[in-house]
Amino acid sequence: MSSLDPYSVAVALDGAGWHPAAWRFNTVPARSYFTAGHWVDQVRQAERGLLDFVTFEDSLTLQSSNLFTADSRTDQVRGRFDAVLLAARVAPATRHIGLVPTAGVTHSEPFHLSTGLATLDHISGGRAGWKVRVSATPAEAENFGRRTVPQIDERSLQSGAAQELLAELFGEAADAVEVVRRLWDSWEDDAVIRDRSTGRYLDRGKLHPVDFQGSHFSVVGPSITPRPPQGQPLVTALAHSTIPYELAAKGADLVYVTPRDADDARAVVGAVRQAEDRVGRTGARLRIFADLVVFLEDTPERARSRKARFDGADGAELVSDAAVLTDSPTGLVRTLAGFREAGIDGFRLRPGASEADLRAIVTGLVPELQSRGLFRRSYDTGTLRSRLGLSVPANRYAA
């Protein structure tokens, strides 16, 4: 992809935005984050900006200011909806934008994930994606009571035991993605025949068992849900290191990465491409999106000072796995260009505040990109996959 091809821009929606104090500066009341109306407004706004897709965050325990353990803070947004259902609620209220909910594979049933995401694709007319999530904390495991997961923290993360655990969890995740994908293919597109002459509704030769047997679960199939419009909804994953890069390379269509800057982006892209080679990926290469937390104002100074105000309210400087940018829309366009030259295909922007920064993306960044000929001026009619240059995959079971 050359640096002059149109940009792909997605927005990551979560609560009041990605700064933990953002809720104190939005105009909407806190209650609204738990109403359908808030989410429909957010996604419609992203759709007015012609963005490629939105993601919805989720996890199987309450948010925490600590990456590895729970906290008892009462001054930050806590609570989330099931993201697949949230995306389904938004789907009929939008027309073009892709809808990519987060759903965990460690504790949930691959069969239910498969039908849920296929249904989101049916409901939205081919706009569904999936952000695959691995649950690696004991807090999440205890909600299911079926397995014990040891506590990992910053210090033990690189230990042999921690890496072994992660390898196991990500191995299971790869199995889950494989099962989900097989289930999507388990109905051929023309399996429903409604043949009045023979009285047969189905051509049973066009339905296929998936017969998956793994070390954590087995699934016979076929699915109960017919093949979704995209054939395979877009599979995405966030990845920060080798093991997750390999999961993405094995199972995903798109990976979110967290480079600190353009130079780091070059290294990360290299590592992702190596992971693709190591796992023997075939077919379309991974789309690589850089995750960036953004605070956008007319000038970089204003953006910096707004973020400082948020930091002050939270009592600490924002810590993020992704690079945090405080800039003007023009400045951000320059930064994005640098990432593109480093081999990044697109961007998932995490608005610092759900109001101010989503608005600035739509009314500031997008027009800047458009004026340089780098962003669409209207949606085409295709599916989410086709927007990202991915074709409808051939059905693995079709003769």
Binding site: G79, P222, P226
Partner: protein, 472 residues
């Protein structure tokens, strides 16, 4: 179950739900009017029609494995369904008042997942969610899930009861006033331990933090469908609505009396549980026109091959030489329950059932196809709109039911005529609402605030008082 549920009405009010046509031979896919069984537009049409008719709720059944007949996928009936919860969440976007109830298995789900999803739908629909708790019928389904296999009969309902109790614990883990959201002081929550819960039983030993704030209904409406004694007792102790398979007047009355007895024995007010049988209907311009149409519908529902498959299922044997338009063969002496897989079976002796079918065919001189039509087509209400309204009213006033979960046989327009013609008749009789009075499904059903259930097996009995009065 008395006349007093709604003050201001001298007559007991009818409750109606719209069931999306299912994956069985009642759904006529061969009719030129029949549309897609999976397109979202079909779900929208039926939900909007039912809401126009002021129905209490829209209802989805669920089956977690495609049905098999004689060891192969059953190809004569409609097959394939979207995910129940995902459809309900999307329907919340295109409807405003009607309840949204889905069938979900307590065997092949986990409380933390499912309680979150149901609370999410309750929020996203502003208090219209309901859950039909089923235990799923056999190990056949288990092959699609982590746990594999199935549960012993005795364990199915202890797991279901614990599942519901654990879900209620999760729904109660956020108090209604937990969300403060005071921007100047920075107090988002009132409680640093919000969402914290533990539940310890025979089937679940779980603890942690729940992620969904208390939903508009507090607890979604709970429905149960399952016919065994264990199933009925579970329903009597636990749920708000019983979905029954007994729609004909006399069996319905004895079922109603049986459930009422069990509800009282469980120490609950019988008014707090509604019994809604599943029912079909055929309307006509005159009584005889309706009968003619019912006959046509029956012939479309039971084609020759469906007649054979149905008899094979009841006989528990393959019948390759059977002539569907010929006489009924002698009843079997042994029964193979694996002839049909993936379909709920009811608690009946299969050999006795086959003998009863055979005796009926002999006495009434029925062919195989005629027998299957007589035994399986569920045309509960047949007549003109006024007659059908009268039948429903009569059944509800005489303790056969509190209303019905109605399914048309055409997807998705099968309820249109009912809403346009029977609903006004019911309204004229003063037994059905002309406008929604409340906003939540609990309101429509006349249910009070939810309460927690405590089980003898639960080692972690309630640590936090039940929150009431949260029905926004």
């Amino acid at each position: 179950m008395t006349y007093s549920r709604r003050t201001g009405f001298p007559k007991k009010q009818v409750h109606l739900a719209a069931g999306f046509p299912g994956v069985n031979h009642w759904t006529v896919w061969s009719d030129p009017r029949s549309g897609s069984q999976t397109d979202f537009a079909s779900f929208v049409h039926l939900a909007e029609t039912a809401e126009r008719g002021k129905f209490d709720f829209f209802f989805l059944a669920e089956g977690l494995r495609l049905r098999e007949h004689l060891g192969r996928l059953h190809d004569l009936d409609v097959a394939g369904r979207p995910n129940t919860l995902t459809v309900l969440a999307a329907l919340a976007a295109v409807t405003e008042r009607i309840g949204l109830v889905g069938t979900l298995s307590s065997t092949f789900n986990e409380p933390y997942d499912l309680a979150r999803q149901l609370a999410t739908v309750d929020h996203l629909s502003d208090g219209r969610a309901g859950w039909n708790v089923v235990t799923s019928s056999d190990a056949f389904h288990g092959a699609n899930f982590r746990r594999g296999g199935y549960l012993d009969k005795a364990d199915r309902y202890t797991r279901a009861a614990e599942f519901v109790a654990a879900s209620r614990r999760l729904w109660d883990s956020w108090s209604a006033d937990a969300l403060v959201g005071d921007q100047p002081t920075g107090a988002f929550l009132s409680d640093p331990d919000i969402g914290r819960y533990t539940f310890g039983g025979e089937h679940f030993d779980i603890a942690g933090r729940f992620t969904v704030p208390r939903s508009p209904q507090g607890h979604p409406v709970l429905v149960q469908a399952g016919d065994s004694a264990e199933g009925r007792d579970f329903a009597a102790r636990t749920v708000d609505v019983v979905f029954s398979a007994h729609a004909e007047l006399e069996p319905a009355r004895s079922f109603y009396a049986d459930v009422t007895r069990r509800v009282v024995a469980a120490g609950r007010n019988p008014d707090s549980v509604l019994v809604l049988p599943g029912a079909g209907f055929v309307l006509g311009d005159s009584t005889s026109d309706a009968r003619d149409r019912a006959r046509e519908v029956a012939l479309a529902q039971v084609g020759p091959e469906t007649a054979r498959a149905q008899l094979e299922q009841v006989w528990g044997a393959e019948l390759p030489d059977l002539d569907p338009d010929g006489p009924v063969p002698a009843p079997p002496t042994s029964h193979d329950t694996t002839i049909r897989l993936g379909q709920a079976r009811h608690a009946i002796d299969p050999l006795a059932q086959a003998r009863r079918w055979y005796d009926r065919a002999t006495t009434e001189g029925l062919t195989v196809r005629e027998l299957v039509i007589a035994e399986t087509t569920r045309h509960t209400f047949v007549g003109t709109a006024a007659e059908v309204a009268g039948q429903i009213d009569h059944a509800v006033q005489t303790e056969a039911a509190d209303g019905y979960i109605l399914s048309g046989h055409i997807t998705p327009t099968g309820l249109d005529e009912f809403v346009d013609t029977v609903v006004p008749e019911l309204q004229d009789r003063g037994v059905f609402r002309t406008e929604y009075e409340g906003t939540t499904l609990r309101d429509h059903l006349g249910l009070g605030a939810p309460t927690a259930t405590t089980l003898p097996t639960d080692r972690t009995a309630v640590s936090r008082p039940t929150v009431v009065g949260a029905t926004a």
